[in-house]
């Protein structure tokens, strides 16, 4: 299902030539003459000649990012419900597959509530940064540099979560899930963090209730996701090891939440 050469989990890929490369067209259509000439020359030199090489190499490690952005309002609303209240989700947790060009691949997020997407994690991360700024400001400690540090702290937290999930997959011997899938699953924790920080802003004491609650919800969501979707790929089935690792994932959410939801000027804690 996942092959090591850049899995194409979504729509059938059209022939590579007409596919627009959103990162290669940055300098086309620039406005005034001077800027167009200067930027165009540099842009073609930097992005133009190396784009084929970069594209071919990137597609080996990243699946097509377009797949993760095929979302709409309905999906976003329901996915938020699933992420924030995972125990209310009555349906199954596995992704729907469809045969595409002789291979089985997953349906895009519009058609499948269990498919990961990158829109919600990105927006949740942005909301977390903005809410953290508001929280700093209400305590009188706001400065733009502090907000920049919070942005990097959030990125580090996201990276730690990704590496946690990736390590559990490696320790089970299957590292073949697409990287962007794992990035998406790790990014869903920011939705819970946003709720916790929002609680901290509105009423200080609600934080002590909301934070463990969202932490628990995130743990349940991740456990259920990892169990159904990702462990399907694992070759050996070792029941007790599975369960210990899942428990470890759920427990590791707690220090991560403590670290990231504690919004201070001091970067480390």
């Amino acid at each position: 299902m996942y092959d090591s050469l850049g899995a194409q989990p979504g729509l059938p890929r059209p022939p590579p030539n007409p596919q627009p490369n959103p990162f290669g067209n940055a300098f086309v259509g620039a406005g005034s003459g001077l800027i167009r000439g200067g930027l165009g020359a540099y842009g073609e030199k930097i992005l133009g000649s190396s784009s084929e090489y970069v594209q071919s190499n990137i597609s080996r490690y990243f699946s097509d990012p377009q797949y993760y952005f095929q979302v709409n309002d309905h999906y976003v609303r329901n996915k938020l419900k699933v992420v924030l209240f995972p125990f209310l989700h009555r349906g199954h947790w596995s992704r729907i597959t469809e045969p595409v060009g002789g291979r089985l691949s997953y349906k895009p997020p519009i058609y499948d509530i269990n498919a990961p997407d990158l829109y919600i994690p990105l927006m949740a991360f942005g909301t977390y940064v903005v809410l953290a700024g508001i929280s700093l400001g209400l305590h009188g400690k706001f400065s733009p540099e502090a907000l920049n540090w919070l942005f990097f702290k959030g990125l580090v937290g996201w990276f730690l979560q990704v590496s946690l999930l990736k390590m559990t997959l490696f320790s089970l011997g299957s590292g073949e899930a697409p990287l962007l899938d794992i990035v998406a699953y790790a990014g869903y924790t920011f939705t819970g963090m946003c709720i916790a920080v929002l609680g901290k802003i509105t009423w200080n004491y609600s934080y002590y209730f909301l934070m463990p609650w969202t932490c628990l919800c995130m743990g349940v969501f991740l456990v259920k996701t990892m169990k159904r979707v990702l462990f399907v790929e694992v070759r050996s089935y070792d029941s007790s090891r599975h369960h210990y690792l899942l428990l470890f994932i759920a427990l590791a959410q707690f220090p991560l939440f403590l670290w990231l939801c504690n919004i201070t000027v001091n970067w480390l804690f």
Binding site: P22, Y119, M123, V129, P144, L147
Partner: protein
């Protein structure tokens, strides 16, 4: 240092020598060039020799051009386009675009068909100046945040729009910059309101919604797709402008 170009001799008018009668030590010496100036001796370097006395009266003054420029000496200055036009700064267009942003309910996307960066530059500069009046030095922060916000919106919009996403980065920066106008007005108003009060929060909320509305509508109309993703894009713009309003409020 060896002289590589012809320099006209400095000629003082006779009788103007102030050193006369003071002493031998203060006697001025006329600086003599190592070689006499050659007038039109070398045709590849069109050198216009001139006297200091006649320079002020001459309207066809032009600096000596050593690059072998074949433009006529007397007409090159008058034939150049005006500076703003050469730089691509169309002040009338900037003004009309600015006025079109002020009305949040009727958005005219045809004016913004032509993206330019000079209007946003003016807005960001005035934003920084109003912040400076409030005692905060935020010019670098504003520049960095606008860059990051434009990249963020560019990625999100093109990914959401899919195969027919044709927003380019230049137009994205231009749109974000123009829709920063309500933030500039907010920072001007914030100078007169007490910091951290309810008034500034309410006004900031209204202005952020104004910015978001204009930006979303312009994006959706100009980039020819994304109508079904209007809410999703609106949230991204909302995040960006809330971020900038934080700079003003706190």
């Amino acid at each position: 240092m060896a002289k590589e170009f012809n320099v006209p001799p400095v000629v003082f008018p006779a009788g103007g020598n102030p050193g006369v009668g003071v002493g031998a030590a203060h006697q001025r010496r006329l600086p003599t060039p190592p070689f006499p100036p050659q007038r039109f001796a070398n045709p590849s370097i069109p050198f216009m020799s001139f006297d200091i006395g006649s320079a002020a009266a001459s309207t066809s003054f032009s600096a000596p051009q050593f690059a072998g420029n074949t433009i006529g000496i007397g007409s090159s200055f008058e034939d150049e386009p005006p500076l703003l036009e050469e730089l691509g700064i169309n002040t009338r267009q900037i003004w009309s675009k600015t006025v079109s942003i002020i009305n949040p309910f009727r958005v005219n996307p045809d004016l913004h068909e032509d993206a330019d960066l000079s209007g946003p530059f003016l807005f960001l500069l005035s934003f920084g100046l109003f912040q400076l009046l409030a005692g905060k030095l935020h010019f670098g922060i504003i520049l960095g945040w606008v860059t990051m916000a434009a990249l963020f919106l560019y990625v999100v919009f093109n990914m959401l729009a899919g195969r027919n996403g044709n927003l380019d980065l230049y137009r994205c920066v231009s749109l974000i910059g123009y829709c920063m106008l309500p933030m500039v007005i907010l920072s001007a108003i914030a100078l007169f309101l007490p910091q951290g009060g309810v008034g500034i929060l309410v006004i900031a909320g209204v202005f952020v919604i104004w910015s978001t509305r204009v930006c979303t509508r312009l994006l959706v109309e100009l980039a020819s797709c994304g109508d079904e993703h209007r809410g999703l894009i609106a949230y991204a713009c909302f995040l960006i402008y809330t971020l900038f309003s934080l700079l003003v409020i706190f």
